[in-house]
Point group: D2
Chain length 456, copies 4
Amino acid sequence: MCGIIGIENNENAAVLTSAGLLTLQHRGEESAGITISGREKMRTFKAMGLVSRIFNEEILLNKLPGTVAIGHVRYTTSSKSSLINAQPFQISCIHGNISVAHNGNITNFSKIKELLFKKGAIFNHTSDTEILLHLIAMSKGSLADIIANSLRKLEGAFSLVILKDRTLIGARDSNGFRPLVLGKIENSYIISSESAAVEVIGGKYIRDIKPGEIIVIEDGQIKKSLIYNYNKTKRQTSCIFEQVYFSRPDSIMFEQTVKEARVKMGEYLAQQMKNIKADIVMPVPDTGYFAALGFSRTSGILFENGFIRNHYVGRSFIKPSQNLRNLTATLKLRPIGEVVNGKEIILIDDSIVRGTTSKRLINVLKEAGAKKIHFALSCPPIIGPCYYGIDTPSREHLIAANNSVEKIKKYLNVNSLIFLSLDNLVKACSSGNKKSDVFCVACFTGKYPTKISKIA
Amino acid sequence: MCGIIGIENNENAAVLTSAGLLTLQHRGEESAGITISGREKMRTFKAMGLVSRIFNEEILLNKLPGTVAIGHVRYTTSSKSSLINAQPFQISCIHGNISVAHNGNITNFSKIKELLFKKGAIFNHTSDTEILLHLIAMSKGSLADIIANSLRKLEGAFSLVILKDRTLIGARDSNGFRPLVLGKIENSYIISSESAAVEVIGGKYIRDIKPGEIIVIEDGQIKKSLIYNYNKTKRQTSCIFEQVYFSRPDSIMFEQTVKEARVKMGEYLAQQMKNIKADIVMPVPDTGYFAALGFSRTSGILFENGFIRNHYVGRSFIKPSQNLRNLTATLKLRPIGEVVNGKEIILIDDSIVRGTTSKRLINVLKEAGAKKIHFALSCPPIIGPCYYGIDTPSREHLIAANNSVEKIKKYLNVNSLIFLSLDNLVKACSSGNKKSDVFCVACFTGKYPTKISKIA
Amino acid sequence: MCGIIGIENNENAAVLTSAGLLTLQHRGEESAGITISGREKMRTFKAMGLVSRIFNEEILLNKLPGTVAIGHVRYTTSSKSSLINAQPFQISCIHGNISVAHNGNITNFSKIKELLFKKGAIFNHTSDTEILLHLIAMSKGSLADIIANSLRKLEGAFSLVILKDRTLIGARDSNGFRPLVLGKIENSYIISSESAAVEVIGGKYIRDIKPGEIIVIEDGQIKKSLIYNYNKTKRQTSCIFEQVYFSRPDSIMFEQTVKEARVKMGEYLAQQMKNIKADIVMPVPDTGYFAALGFSRTSGILFENGFIRNHYVGRSFIKPSQNLRNLTATLKLRPIGEVVNGKEIILIDDSIVRGTTSKRLINVLKEAGAKKIHFALSCPPIIGPCYYGIDTPSREHLIAANNSVEKIKKYLNVNSLIFLSLDNLVKACSSGNKKSDVFCVACFTGKYPTKISKIA
Amino acid sequence: MCGIIGIENNENAAVLTSAGLLTLQHRGEESAGITISGREKMRTFKAMGLVSRIFNEEILLNKLPGTVAIGHVRYTTSSKSSLINAQPFQISCIHGNISVAHNGNITNFSKIKELLFKKGAIFNHTSDTEILLHLIAMSKGSLADIIANSLRKLEGAFSLVILKDRTLIGARDSNGFRPLVLGKIENSYIISSESAAVEVIGGKYIRDIKPGEIIVIEDGQIKKSLIYNYNKTKRQTSCIFEQVYFSRPDSIMFEQTVKEARVKMGEYLAQQMKNIKADIVMPVPDTGYFAALGFSRTSGILFENGFIRNHYVGRSFIKPSQNLRNLTATLKLRPIGEVVNGKEIILIDDSIVRGTTSKRLINVLKEAGAKKIHFALSCPPIIGPCYYGIDTPSREHLIAANNSVEKIKKYLNVNSLIFLSLDNLVKACSSGNKKSDVFCVACFTGKYPTKISKIA
């Protein structure tokens, strides 16, 4: 998963882009980068690590002069984790200097790369994004045409911000898999993965970039906006998992905040679990939080926050050895004994992927004295990998792809195991606009909205 | 403020100490250090920055061999912020190698330093802790005697862990200002600022170290435990602000968790505010959280989490300029428009110090559409600085020391401003054991439990 | 200027390449990199800075597995100084993974880039080397054909090592501007900018790569060696400045060591200066050293080392202000008063470029008491910039391009100013093999052996 | 070994001190530090590593305000290598803030430390220097008295610069083991380990600080200068090895430059070796250089520089394994085959300590074709360790302490092995002033000028 943002016609382009990236940091912690232009020669600054460690005042104010910028935070999906694959990608070609930041996964990458190889193209990265730059360099016409022509050749999921001179371009694949929104601050347009980033930097959310849309912005004006492509079903299939897990709660999706969708997931879960009695309902922080709140409101069961999360614990702490078994688990997330001891608990999490983390958490809860645990998930069982940009593991590692609910319940050693039904999930996510046929739910159904080539 | 921990008789002494420091990191983010002994020569590793960045597997497993360790995280109070003042302080003296980690503030520091100067002592640090090491080096007798004699000369607030060979010593000033607890894991004793650190690393909380107590532990045995000193009033005066703000919610204080005390603060606030009607009650994350929950339960007003906190934003982001006014505020803490827009809100925070942060938050809430804001604090107005280890600013910067509640209400531009009464605060914090005369509440009353010398 | 090296069929490929780069470090201190293949997937490790700081045991032994490697040290010539331009350049194309390291300067870079742009090529770097990779990717045939076809399109100076799978390729432009030698160690061939690097790592120098030659090596066998191109004059024109200044004294060029050529430069200078009497002859360290030795032997004038050079002084020391005038000069190079005081001195340096450094040195010598200074240079006046890989400044900054010898003498404030005649320089450099028509001396004559396009 | 420098009454105190440290860097590469005072509060900046990497313009100009400074570069002798032992040591005591930088080795360290322990002193470092600070803090009287009283208690070797407010103090032990000179630049006095540092920063050498002298300087005035102590023999015994190896060639010692002393060592060696015929005389760079020059002048044998030294090779390169045998040796120092091949060589080095480096060099020379090697050293065999500040290994590792010259010759596999006689060494080092009874030659004779306690 990745986060992207672009802003144009703004004296604080670098600062606002970095603030936007900070707001999108949950979408990728591996690398971050900014390309800027509009005043001096286009330049890109990127590095491995967190935004707050890469971009300081010195770099933002002195090393990144310009008025138009795009930024990217990355959590690797289809390519290797190293600086060489950190985005944005800035290149020069017959059209001049161009830079691109990409969220998604191009599914016909290998096929196009083959074709490009035959035309003599060279690849510097192992990322799928580079093929777009080649296609752009080989296209002719107006800037919008060039990009439209190039994007029509791509299959899969891609939300893009593109920078050229003083022009900012946003584009989204024809299924609209990954989110992309348009916003404005004073005389500057913003394009961003999530509306929260638009609003945090002081802008107003205007609308979503439409599936298959290209939008070309310059000097505070929308120069062009066109639908360059329709997918076969002519249907939007936006990733519903953004609302289950990925997006910030304060981002707007389908006319309600993600927070609201999650509250509703909890409400529907409560309806599904009417027969289950418990002393308290508590979330796995932080994503289970709003669903648990919704559950409590509907069920009347007392909401409690029984886990304390330690945000200081990074990934790099010592590997757990036999005699330090639960150490790394409890360091990050520790139950408050007083809250859970002797209680019958409804525990709400967003989803189960491999099952190992859930098992460890439930184990820790039991050691803290939980009497009974009813484990509720705010989405259906995940039975298929994502080919559209989420780094779910391959099918063999998906616990629900290989085990019945009954078996998973036993493995986790819980008293009940309840998954939100797909219907209820879709209702929760679409209650804002009453549209319910706009989601990609392939990871729950195994039915993918596009043809999937074999992925290397 | 600082956090301290010690563990003895344990093969994983360095790893467990670092895990304990991670759990105590909220008590100080400036520097961290560990001293270890028991196998090879005593050694200390310390650096500026966060625990997770200083202590990695390589350092913990290879550079810190030993079975007895003490650790320290520091947020500067009375001395300069630099590596030279990072703790623990390891020295050699006539008694051998000794290391000390200190939480608190020695109020007769200058006077003793003067005396030590006259005896020819040299000081390497600007920290108040160094005088203790001089006093120890100049004392004679058994280890317990040496430390008891030295501590009797000190006034003010100090919780200490001391390391010598295979011996771990814990000590607390006779008022018991700062917390210090005893715990155990298998055959190893642990001494720590908070019980949460004991439990996260797998240990059990046994009891608090008593005010004026020294405890000497070696090879898994408590060799000695004595009350070396009584204060003039013979009364415990533990910092009540630990429960309002500093301590982890899952730590145990006076026989209940801090979480429970905070829930009760909210309940009492709800009682004080019976006449105020509102649509929702919402906390300022993260410390206002449990009080808001308690408020909601008592008042029946809907609990909402209207702020999204971004944990990725560090201190070092760009300084706010005029045209980026609210950027740094909203980057860290952003209201969800949907939740607050058009609402009459009860906003719960722990306390008001300077008032500037509160003002900015309230401003941001109003811009997000809040109709009315009733601002409730889970403690009384702070009218006096702390001389016992909390880095509150001097009196002139304390808004409540210089302004009436009415004036503060106007400054903050809120519809109501309610402080939890001191009685209710004490009740909330002591409901576990029904003892209510055990607290230092000097910052709310201006009546200090010890004589205060002028502080340099 | 840059240094390149490649080695194949060797278990210690990474270690030997890094040792070779250490030996070639004088050719470029800005960045260093190694590409390795032959066992696992091809990978490249490169960074800004000195070889000794980039490549440590951990990286060489664990991060660079393989048996075939190429390496590069860089001092920027025609492109920007940044990591993006650090070599080797590793790409993937229709022929697979290929990596290139380049020493020299491609003079028709802009023209070819224009053509490549039209074919839709994208450029990731600002370096001239990238066009070669594009040409290779667009060529067809055997590996040797592909590279030969590509190189035939290039004009200017280039010595290259190229890596593909287990194959190491060396190539040199048809003028042979920049040096490139073939060596062998046990069953492994080595290709390197200088023979010293071959010998330091334990190999034997075999022969020079010929102008216009491509050599293809695999599994310890020379698979192919061909002359792919002749230049118009069918004459070798190797940079004579390598022997004056750039190369290590122990490298072999035209059948004698560079040290021997420099000794001869001094001998010829002594012949040119028969009429000048002096107390001592002394070099400007380190390049003037051997010429001064030769001068002393021929003239009978006492050789003295009157400057002490401080190798600890880096580039980054404080900028000289008015009141610290000579500080940075004497920090690096300080005259021994005892040696120079009251003496008539023949001072030997390699060349004068801008003249500013010489002026400072002479000034410092005078302040140390030198009575008379006769300044002798082991090459003729430099009147033209180099278009073949040496970063001489543009003509307007070349003191000898804009001033008569008499004027320079006055500017430097010396008693005599003698340049080695071109005839004598050529004789000194070719005495090994008696060939004297093999040199590029364009910087002394302004007559360039190739057509020069305008350089961006 | 260490290098020290101090300067007072100077607006550029920090810059000039760092320039002085760069000039003294050969005396210690492990850590460097500067203490400054005279304007703001005294402060110290120190770190592990080279001066050029620790002190940049930002630190020198902005972080070190003041007019009086002392500096230190360190190569560990008697204590552990870590930042805690980096100097200068700044402390506060009854006399205020004081900082000390020390070159030498206090031989009664353990005894005094014992006494100080009994008085209740605490030690923060493992360095011997700290006892001086304790003695100062415990003394009374004028500043000169305090320091004189303290120094009278010390035995062994110490040259010191001490900083207090605007006062710079220099002091030397009563034997004058380690060098210390007085210099002046405009209205500022300088005290430094070597005269070269005085002169590089633009000052004039005035005189040596006398054995047993304290000099107190303030505001450009020598306030006091006294001999605080005489040693038992009332004889100066300055380390002769400074001239053989340690000091910069351009430093003045006993009224001649070290360079001149080394030339004379070579001349006397030539006299000792009249019967040995050879084709060339060549030095081991860099210390053998001037002796080889002197040898050549006296003997008439051709001087050649047959080794190329690579200054880019640091200590941290890969550990030599069996199949990379000579790699690390030749990387640093490589013979020019052309020079040595088939030659009978007189090879000049400064000294033999363990013998291993010499063996490797001679081996490399033989592999390069040397026919015969006559190995000449510009000092006698080293048979005793140094207790006065040079980190020679213990007696068991000194090859000459355990083997006859004949045996060493066999071990090194040379045709002759000649050591400069002690008489000749003393003559070479004292020819400037005709005094010959001023040297410590204990490492050659085993007769130490002071009583040696057992060293921990």
